[in-house]
């Protein structure tokens, strides 16, 4: 294969992954809502309803308060771009991402943090009391999830011997090296799952189905947004959820992912990926129906558990190698 062909292939793979992320993420949100509706004995909206919602929002005219600064209008684009970039670092259906030279697993954490940071600023920017409240809560949750996420990621990186996500997933998929040690992975998985629920504003931490409630976190920051800005933020949140699900699915159970770039392997990889992500979405929907939202001051307990689990994963790496 010539150099030009390799470059073209890399660009095609990156574009394909971006398309999959953009196209699948609203359906995942719709699937979770459908699962919740079925558990509550409701018919529920179609799984594809979020696409229609996004299309409607893109057609509407955005209303921007005159008291806001450039941060308010820039945030949706920054959030969308940082989330999409983060999504391109996580292998979805092919284990070797062409962009893996651009950032490792730590870059992924801070790409998410960049979006969260701007969203917090935007919540404060319009000067509404709800926005400030949501921002301060989001800052609490974000500062507590970050150490847990970094620790669980270190536990994974230690067992795989690399912080590069593509290397981790590729090695685990091919069962190379010491990555088959289950105990640190189990702890890191539990920690990362709690972190994923907290970061994407799912039920034990935040309720995504509420508007205008005193307990809301994520929605409180978005209250001032409308039109295409709201659509971009909603889409970015859906993508963030999908990226976290891909991270969990592919770091801990990457089997089935395409380790070579043949059309056959890629199509199997895509089908397996969609099945895994849909399975996790059903799991999240089930959890949202089984548990009540925690009180805000109990959230620290849950995130403390996540941090300790990640720490244990790190410790087990040393303890259990004997």
């Amino acid at each position: 294969m010539t150099k030009e062909q390799a470059i073209l292939q890399a660009i095609a793979l990156t574009l394909a992954q971006a398309l999959v992320l953009l196209a699948v993420s609203p359906a995942i949100v719709g699937l979770i809502r459908k699962v919740k509706a079925r558990f509550q004995c409701r018919q529920g909206a179609r799984v594809f309803q979020p696409y229609a919602d996004l299309a409607k929002l893109f057609r509407k005219q955005p209303v921007v308060s005159t008291t806001t600064s450039w941060i308010f209008t820039a945030t949706p684009y920054i959030l969308f771009a940082s989330t999409l970039t983060a999504g391109l670092l996580v292998p979805a259906f092919a284990s070797q991402m062409p962009l893996n030279f651009a950032g490792n697993i730590i870059a992924l954490v801070y790409l998410f943090a960049l979006g969260t940071f701007f969203l917090i600023l935007a919540g404060l920017d319009a000067g509404s009391p709800f926005g400030g409240m949501g921002s301060s809560r989001e800052a609490i949750v974000a500062s507590l999830t970050e150490p847990a996420m970094i620790m669980s990621i270190f536990a994974i990186a230690l067992t795989a011997g690399s912080t590069n996500l593509s290397t981790i997933v590729h090695k685990t998929a091919l069962l190379e090296g010491i990555v088959t040690d289950p105990s640190p992975h189990l702890m890191a998985l539990a920690a990362l799952f709690i972190v994923a629920l907290a970061e994407t504003g799912r039920v034990p931490v935040d309720n995504p189905a509420t508007h205008l409630e005193l307990t809301m976190i994520h929605e409180a920051m978005l209250l001032e947004y409308s039109g295409r800005y709201l659509a971009l933020i909603e889409w970015a949140s859906a993508m963030k959820l999908l990226v976290f699900l891909s991270l969990i699915a592919n770091v801990f159970a990457p089997w089935g992912i395409a380790t070579t770039l043949t059309p056959m392997a890629l199509s199997i990889g895509l089908a397996v990926y969609l099945a895994k992500v849909a399975g996790l979405a059903v799991l999240i929907g089930t959890i949202e129906c089984m548990f009540a939202k925690l009180r805000l001051f109990r959230v620290t307990d849950l995130l403390g558990v996540a941090f300790i689990l990640a720490l244990l994963g790190l410790l087990f790496f040393y303890i259990l190698r004997g």
Binding site: L186, D301, G304, V305, F307, L312, F316, Y318, I319
Partner: protein
């Protein structure tokens, strides 16, 4: 059984012990009493599975017997007794603790490290396939002990005591492939009787003080 190499066997035993420690932390973080009991039953189930796995890997039949007894006594009988005790109480959750949950979790994390550093010099001399579990067993004992200090309600203290016993059982299995059967039988009987007595004692406490807070016991009455 070509796939079941000693290496994979060791990892499976390690995984079982890791699950035991995981439920330990869940018990420390849990405030609802009935959920604590459920978690203890789950931990005992993991313990029985780990013991059965060790029995299978080493071909020592008396550990199977101990595992079956664990299921009978600690998964079925003791949780039922505790559930019945909780039904009679006027508390469903632990609200006041000597040490709050995030601090308890951090202290338990430190205890795991302490257990690891204590057992670290011994472990390389072991030749059993369960030797890595020794650190985890010691950690579970320490966490159980700490939980008994950190909680005030009699029921949670009882659960913490039982968690300590689970840690000791795991330690015995890890260090020597289990104690002789007659010793195991005696221990199971002791634990069962201790749980029953503590259950009755909790009910008496409830009747006498209208509370199951054991700190009340330090006030002497005529």
């Amino acid at each position: 059984m070509s796939w079941l190499t000693p290496h994979i066997g060791t990892q499976l035993v390690d995984l079982g012990s890791a699950l035991l420690l995981l439920t330990c932390f869940a018990i420390v973080a849990q405030r609802r009493l009935s959920a604590c009991v459920d978690l203890f039953a789950l931990q005992s189930l993991f313990l029985a599975m780990t013991a059965a796995l060790v029995a299978f890997l080493t071909g020592t039949p008396h550990i199977y017997f101990a595992a079956a007894l664990t299921v009978l006594v600690k998964v079925l009988v003791i949780p039922r007794v505790l559930k019945r005790v909780i039904e009679r109480l006027n508390v469903t959750r632990e609200l006041v603790m000597n040490i709050n949950v995030p601090a308890s979790l951090l202290i338990c994390g430190v205890l795991v490290m302490v257990a690891f550093f204590i057992t670290q010099p011994i472990m390389p001399f072991g030749h059993l396939l369960t030797r890595d579990s020794l650190a985890i067993a010691l950690a579970i004992v320490l966490i159980g002990f700490f939980t008994m200090i950190a909680r005030q309600k009699a029921v949670t203290q009882l659960i913490a005591f039982l968690v300590m016993e689970n840690g000791l059982f795991l330690g015995a299995t890890a260090a020597t492939y289990g104690m002789p059967l007659i010793v195991e039988l005696g221990v199971f009987f002791d634990v069962l009787v201790a749980a029953l007595i503590a259950g009755i004692y909790t009910n008496r406490l409830q009747d006498a003080f209208d509370s199951v807070d054991t700190t009340r016991l330090s006030e002497l009455k005529e």
